[in-house]
Amino acid sequence: MDRRHFVAGSAAAAAALTVRPSFGQDAYPSHAITFINPFPPGGAADVVGRPLTAALEPIIKQPCVIETKAGAAGQVGGQVAASAKPDGYTLLIHIVSISGFAEVDKLFGRTPKFTRADFIPIARLTAGPMVLVVNDQQPYKNIKELVEDAKKNPDKLIFSSSGLYGALHLPTALFMKAAGIKMKHLPTNGGGPALTAILGNNAQVLVSSIAAASAQVKAGKLKALACFGNKRAAAMPDVPTLKESGYDVEFSLWVGVFAPKGTPAPIVKTLGDNIKKAADTDQFKTAIKNLGDEVAYLDSAGFAKFWDEDAKRVEAAVQSIGRVQG
């Protein structure tokens, strides 16, 4: 290859490279779509995301890849997605705790890495109420007994969580505030360790997703005392809601898909339509049902409305926890 050929070839290659994006805009999607999972594999975003991308690929006719960018309780992945090019090829799968980061940063006087305004909600996929469980060594038969005992002996009971200001800590804080009780916090670094702590009686109380706790409840190792939904959960029809028991608290662990702010409206619509079809497949529904969760699809507009309300709950929970003195 002589020099002239080389130059011509490089120029052609460069031209091809620069032309491609405008080409792509005509027919979205023209190549693989990346879904960022901001948690370690095995978390809620991952186990919901895998069946979703598997169902979405044949519908959208492009590969859908989950890229794990775990770190700082979901903050690293959120930041990456917020600063990604808003072209519809980088999306984010996140959970209820996404609303809390900015509030926590405010609490500590830090500049938030991202806020809710950095994202366009595309679809909510699942939402399952949380459930309050105690281990089998506790005498409480219902939530009232627990509250009475905790009132008499403040800071005697210990609750575990997946981490400070995390998805398991926030509902516990809301419940303690509503019931006017105090319990000690044992933060761990994940849902698994939090469950291990309560099973080994190193903690006595845990607010967990139904999916993570149900097998232990069935085996009698844990007792479910209250559920955080606005109605009883299908998987645990005998467990009363907190509202029935007189505590005005509602909290669900939801998983949704987001796009970075600035993504063109037609792309948001295409994505929304196709994700709706994927969420409607039997394949996806069966996988979610097996996880003990409920498909609770909301489209972009419905999800945006829900998210505004839900964020208020999360922000209230962060404020009721406040800054922790170490």
């Binding site: 370690p40 594999p41 095995g42 978390g43 991952d46 186990v47 895998r50 069946p51 598997a54 989950i66 890229e67 794990t68 960018k69 775990a70 770190g71 700082a72 309780a73 903050q75 690293v76 930041q79 926590v104 500590f108 830090r110 210990i158 981490g163 400070l164 200001y165 000690k184 916090h185 044992l186 933060p187 761990t188 670094n189 994940g190 849902g191 698994g192 360790p193 291990t196 702590a197 099973l199 080994g200 009686n201 190193n202 999916a211 149900s214 097998a215 232990q216 069935k218 085996a219 190792k221 394949q283 069966t286 996988a287 097996n290 996880l291 003990g292 800054r323 922790v324 003195q325 170490g326």
Partner: protein, 508 residues
């Protein structure tokens, strides 16, 4: 016992069905590749292949996915031995003596011993899992924060025996590791520590970038300043097998490593990394020739490589008998079971007998497959060493960078690795041993968290470490170890300055 054997026989009838055998083989094959290639770890390997299993039944899915997990523990030592790059975090310690063996032309022997040790530990762990899983799992649950703290104190005391250099140098490196381990979010208060506004540093510094930088890159950077002959080691096939003497030196470390690894593996947490370090320290402590460690001691490969495989089998005990994940990988496996409609919990054994025993039996089969897969590949891997340094080293640097990036898809990790490479170079030049630094980094966050969790549980009362039986037992072991070293110190009546000076002189 008889019931167990009958159930196991039933399990083999499930595991030996042709399609189940095929999926076990597939899992083991992928696992071996995942283990050998630096960067792609078992965690990403399993979650990428999870959607592939949606079309299979639950038994096939778990057989295949678990194969990837324990298969990767076999391959993890390969790059440690050949190139001083840890393929997995649990193989960090194998870099030291494994690579030293390779330099003496015993790479084949080291690889064989690692494979056989892994096989023995895996099979031993399975026997224990089959026979005494349920009672053991209950003990594992009692391992709360105070017990963990006590275990890590023991680990820190063992640290002193780890290094091939003097005690002061070891402790200096360990402290540096502990300081690096402080970086990240304070889990108890939410404050960022030394994160310099990088969200990526929120979770602290990863073990893989540090280990790859200190061992792999530091080694390569130091090579040009040494006298390198153009001569390439090309062992004959007969020389690849361990000699009778090497087998003899490996047998007991393999046995001890298997037991130690299994016991530590059943404790929930990231204990399998610690198990390989503890095994190394233990072997060095009881060896008749501790001076050989760091210069290619067989026990320094056999012990830790068995321990990390024993631990990965041990990790299945709480998962299968209680339904609690011991770490991220078992968490993904539990998720995979749930997607297939099998809730992992205390009733798994009784409700899903086929799956449980089929799975256990498939692991026996899988371990045999892995041995058959890995031993013939030893020859292939060793021939990598025939590539001249001028071509091999740039390739290794590329593998280091790609590998470290792949773990978290984080460019910050790559920078950490490059900086650690420079530090590793400096440490080599001043003859410091980087292993205690890595152990310090592993221990610091877990130690801090479990210490503070314990004090939350006890309202700040330190007595909590002495009124719980397991914690008390571990603390007593610590006290005995400290007492013994103090005693030998007094008996020898040797001024420590003399000894240090002697050691330092010996190194220079």
């Amino acid at each position: 016992m008889e019931a167990t054997l009958l159930s196991l026989a039933h399990g083999f009838s499930v595991a030996l069905q042709p399609d189940n055998l095929w999926y076990a083989f597939l899992g083991c094959l992928v696992g071996t590749l995942v283990g050998v290639l630096p960067g792609i770890g078992p965690l990403s390997g399993i979650s990428i292949l999870l959607p592939v299993t949606f079309g299979l039944n639950a038994t096939q899915a778990v057989i295949m996915l678990a194969g990837i997990y324990y298969g990767s523990q076999y391959g993890g030592s390969t790059t440690s031995i050949l190139m001083r790059i840890p393929g997995e975090a649990a193989s960090v310690i194998t870099c030291i003596d494994g690579n030293a063996m390779a330099r003496r032309g015993r790479a084949g022997a080291a690889l064989c011993i690692a494979a056989v040790g892994s096989f023995v530990a895996g099979t031993f762990g399975l026997l224990m899992l089959t026979v005494i899983a349920p009672p053991l799992a209950t003990i594992a649950l009692r391992f709360g924060p105070p017990e963990y703290t006590a275990l890590l104190v023991l680990g820190l005391i063992f640290l002193a025996y780890m290094s091939s250099t003097s005690l002061v140098r070891t402790l200096l490196m360990a402290c540096l590791g502990l300081v690096f381990g402080m970086i990240g979010i304070d889990n108890m208060t939410g404050h960022f520590r030394y994160s310099f506004d990088l969200a990526e540093l929120g979770d602290g510094i990863g073990i893989v970038p540090v280990a790859v930088g200190l061992f792999g890159l530091g080694e390569i950077l130091a090579t040009p300043s040494k006298h390198v002959t153009g001569e390439v080691i090309s062992p004959k096939f007969r020389e690849m097998l361990p000699t009778r003497q090497e087998w003899r030196e490996a047998i007991w470390p393999i046995g001890r490593g298997s037991l130690l690894g299994f016991l530590i593996g059943i404790i929930p947490g990231s204990a399998h990394i610690i198990s390989s370090f503890l095994s190394y320290a233990l072997e060095k402590r009881i060896s008749k020739h501790p001076e050989k460690f760091g210069k290619g001691a067989v026990a320094g490969v056999a012990g830790p490589e068995s321990a990390n495989n024993g631990a990965s089998t041990g990790a299945f005990v709480p998962m299968l008998s209680l339904g609690i994940p011991t770490g991220p990988i078992t968490a993904v496996l539990i998720g995979a079971l749930m997607i297939h409609g099998v809730p992992a919990g205390p009733q798994l054994v009784s409700d899903h007998r086929d799956l449980f025993w089929g799975f256990v039996a498939s692991m026996y089969v899988g371990n045999v497959m892995l041995l058959a897969l890995n031993l013939p590949m030893v020859g292939l891997f060793v021939s990598v060493l025939r590539i001249p340094y001028a071509y091999l080293y740039p390739l290794i640097i590329m593998f280091c960078i790609v590998g470290v990036y792949e773990v978290n898809h984080s460019i910050v990790d790559v920078w950490i690795m490059l900086i650690m490479g420079l530090i590793g170079y400096a440490l080599r030049k001043f003859s410091f041993d980087p292993a205690p630094l890595v152990l310090g980094l592993v221990i610091a966050p877990i130690f801090e968290q479990s210490l503070r969790q314990s004090l939350i549980m006890s309202n700040g009362n330190y007595f909590i470490f002495f009124d719980r039986p397991i914690a008390l037992g571990l603390m007593l072991v610590c006290a005995i170890l400290l007492g013994l070293s103090a005693l030998s110190f007094v008996l020898k009546r040797k001024d420590w300055r003399d000894r240090l000076a002697k050691v330092e002189a010996g190194e220079g």
